[in-house]
Point group: C2
Chain length 385, copies 2
C-alpha cells in the first residue's frame, strides 16, 4: 500500500449543542478542510461514523446526509458503526482506500447527538451495543460491564478505587488545557471517591459523560500530502481486532484481548513497539478502561496500570502521557466522533501544535478506541518525519 | 489493485423467520464458506451490512455479534449502513481490502429481521433513511418517494401503470424459479392494477415486501481464487456514488443521478459498457425503481424503460434479463442482506449454475443497489473467465 498522511483536522466544541449530528460534522469537516488548505471539491469520498442516530435523531443513512450538509452531493459516502469505535473504523477503511490508490483525498469523521434525549434513554440506546437477548435483558448496561472489569482487575491485581480515581483526576486536569473539552475543571481524588455510586465500584466521576460533538480529519496520498499546507503526519499503522460479543464468553475480564490483538497488529505494521510511542489517546470511557488499555497496549506490565496512573506516569510530563486532550472522561464522548477526535488530537500533538497540553518533542503517537463490551478495538499509529 | 474474485456464496430462504439477524447471517455465511470449500478459520475479516437492527432487535454493534455466532471471535469486523445498499457498500470496501493486499480471504454479507415488528413500525424505521427534519415530518415514507419518481417519469415519458405492472409480473414469474424467493406465485397485470393503492400511482403489487433473511459471499485474492473449489467469478468493478439527501434538492425526479454516476464509474473501471452485460440484478424496491434503473445503467435509452418491461426485453429469454432471481419484488428485500444476495445471484448465473432461471451463456453480470431516497447507489460488475 501507498503511504497515507493526515493533512487536516477539525473538532467541534464537545458538550451540549442544539444542532443535528450532520451539522456538527459539517462544522468539524469545514475546519479540517480549511486546515488542509483544500476546498470541499477536493474530497473524493466520505467515511462517516455515527452510532445512535436512528434512536436520538430518527436518522439512518447519515453519510449522504452529512455529505449534503457539507455541499458534497456526489461522492461515495459510507456510514460505519462499530459502537463507540465507529469513526476509528471509518478511518482504518479510509486508509485502505487511499493506500490502495483508489482515491487521493478522503474525508473521515463522525458525529453524535445524544443530549437531546434523557439520560435514561441514552443509557438504553448505548446498551444496544451489547447483546440484546443475553445481556440487555439482564439489565447489563455499560457501567455494569466496566464494573465487572474493574472488580476482576481489583481481585487479580489489587488495583484500588483510588488508583482508578487518579485517572479521572489526571484527565480532568488535562481537560482544563483543552478549550474544546466538555469539562474544564480540576477534580480531586476525594471528590471522585465520594461521588454517587453508579455500578459498584464505579462512581459518577469514574464515568465519561454523554456528549454532542463532531470530528473530522482529511487524509491524503503521499503526493498530495507533500504539497499540502500543513506538515503531514503519517499513518504508520491502522489495525482492528474483535473479541467474543458476550461478556460471559470472555475468559478473563481483567484483560481486553481485542486491544492486545489490535495493538500487536499495529506495532507489527509499523515496525515499532510500545517503547517507541510518545503520546497516546485511548478509550477511557470509564477510569478502569484506561488502566486496562495502558496494559493491553504494552505501555505497562499487566496489573500495573493502576500503579502507573497513581504515580503520575501517564500525566503530561510523565513517562508516557495518556489522553492529553482530557480523554473521553473530560473532553467528552460523542461516540460516533470519538475515534476521529482522538486522531485529531494525536495529529495536533505530532505537529507540536498543542499549546499548553503539548507533549514535548512527540514524534510517534497512538490512538486506541474500544467499541461495546470490549468486542471491537481499533489501534492506529502516527509519525512525524 | 490486485484482482479479486468471489469464490463462495450463500443465501437463506427469504421470508419470515423466528431467528435473529445474526443467526440468519450465520446460516448464509456457513453456506458461503462450504461453497468456497474453506473453513471459517480462513476468514481474515468480516464486512457486514445491517440497517434497522437497533430498531427491530435493539441491537447495534452487529458485526462482532455476527462474527461470534459464526465462531469467529478475533478477526476485524465492521458494520456498514447505507440504508438498503448496506451490504453492497460492505462488498465494495471489502474488495478494497483484498485488492490492496491487506487480506486474502474476506467474508462479506448482511442480514435483516423486520417481520417481528408491525408493518407500521417497519415503515417508520425504513423512513429513517430519509431526512428526519425535512421529510419524515411531512410523512414522506418510501412508497411516497417512489410515487413522486413514478409521477415524474409518467409525466415526462408517458410511462404507464401497466408498464410498471409488467415489472411486477415479470419478477413474480422469475421468483417461481427461485426456491429461496419469498413469493413463489405468478401474478397478472390485472391483479397488479387492481391491488390496493399504497401511494398513488403505486399499488400494493408495485411494492416489494418486508422480509427477513441473510446473504453472504466469500471474496479472495487471485492466488487463493485460482486454487479454490469453485470456478472463481471475478470482480471487474465496484463503484459507489451519492446524491443530495433531500428529495427537494433533486432537479429531475424521473432520473437517479447516483445510479448514472456509479454506473459510469463501474463501466470505466471494467473497461466495459452496458452492451457487454448479460445479466442484471438491480434494485426494484418499487416497479418504477426498476424502470428508472434500467435507464440509468444504460441498458435502455432514457424514457424507454417502461416500454422495455412491457415488451419483455428484461424477462428471462429477453434482450437483457433483469432480476432473474425474482428481484426485491418477489425474492424479497431483507434490506441489510439485499446487496450481498444480488451478488450471490449474479455469481450463480456466471457459474452457469442457476438451473431453470439460468441466463444462457452469461459471461458478464451487473449488480445495482440503491439506498434511501436515491441518495446512495452501488454498482458492481462481475465476469467469468
Amino acid at each position: 500500500m501507498r503511504r497515507v498522511a493526515v493533512i487536516g483536522v477539525g473538532v467541534t466544541k464537545f458538550g451540549r449543542h442544539d444542532r443535528t449530528s450532520a451539522e456538527l460534522f459539517a462544522e468539524a469537516a469545514a475546519d479540517a478542510l480549511a486546515d488542509a488548505g483544500l476546498p470541499a471539491t477536493a474530497v473524493q469520498a466520505l467515511y462517516y461514523g455515527n452510532v445512535v442516530g436512528s434512536e436520538t435523531e430518527k436518522q439512518l443513512h447519515t453519510s449522504p446526509q452529512a455529505a449534503s450538509v457539507l455541499g458534497l452531493p456526489a461522492v461515495p459516502t459510507t456510514r460505519f458503526e462499530t459502537a463507540c469505535a465507529s469513526s476509528h473504523a471509518a478511518f482504518r477503511h479510509a486508509v485502505m482506500e487511499v493506500g490502495s490508490g483508489v482515491s487521493d483525498v478522503v474525508l473521515v469523521g463522525g458525529a453524535e447527538r445524544v443530549l437531546n434525549v434523557t439520560t435514561e434513554e441514552s443509557t438504553e440506546y448505548f446498551a444496544y451495543a451489547s447483546d440484546a437477548r443475553w445481556e440487555q435483558t439482564l439489565g447489563l448496561t455499560f457501567p455494569g460491564v466496566f464494573a465487572l472489569v474493574a472488580r476482576a482487575h481489583m481481585t487479580k491485581h489489587g488495583t484500588t478505587e483510588a488508583q482508578m480515581a487518579a485517572v479521572a483526576v489526571k484527565n480532568h486536569k488535562h481537560g482544563t488545557l483543552n478549550p474544546k473539552a466538555q469539562f474544564q475543571k480540576e477534580i480531586t481524588i476525594e471528590q471522585v471517591l465520594k461521588s454517587a455510586m453508579v455500578a459498584d465500584p464505579l462512581k459518577l466521576y469514574d464515568c465519561c459523560p454523554f456528549t454532542d460533538g463532531g470530528a473530522a480529519v482529511v487524509i491524503a496520498s503521499e503526493e498530495v500530502a507533500k504539497a499540502a499546507a500543513r506538515r503531514p503526519i503519517w499513518v504508520l499503522a491502522s489495525a482492528a481486532a474483535s473479541d467474543w460479543m458476550l461478556i460471559g464468553d470472555k475468559r478473563d475480564l481483567s484483560r481486553v484481548p481485542a486491544t492486545e490483538r489490535a495493538a500487536a497488529a499495529a506495532y507489527r505494521q509499523a515496525g515499532l513497539g510500545p517503547q517507541d510511542v510518545n503520546v497516546v489517546e485511548l478509550h477511557d470511557c470509564f477510569t478502569i478502561a484506561e488502566i486496562v488499555a495502558t496494559e493491553g497496549l504494552g505501555l505497562f506490565e499487566a496489573g500495573t496500570g493502576g500503579v502507573a496512573a497513581e504515580k503520575g506516569w501517564t500525566s503530561l510530563g510523565g513517562k508516557i502521557p495518556v489522553n492529553p486532550s482530557g480523554g473521553l472522561k473530560a473532553k467528552g464522548h460523542p461516540i460516533g466522533a470519538t475515534g476521529a477526535a482522538q486522531i485529531a488530537e494525536v495529529v495536533t500533538q505530532l505537529r507540536h501544535d498543542a499549546g499548553p497540553r503539548q507533549v514535548d518533542g512527540a514524534r510517534v503517537g497512538l490512538t486506541h478506541t474500544l467499541g461495546g463490551n470490549t468486542a471491537t478495538v481499533l489501534v492506529s499509529l502516527f509519525g512525524r518525519d
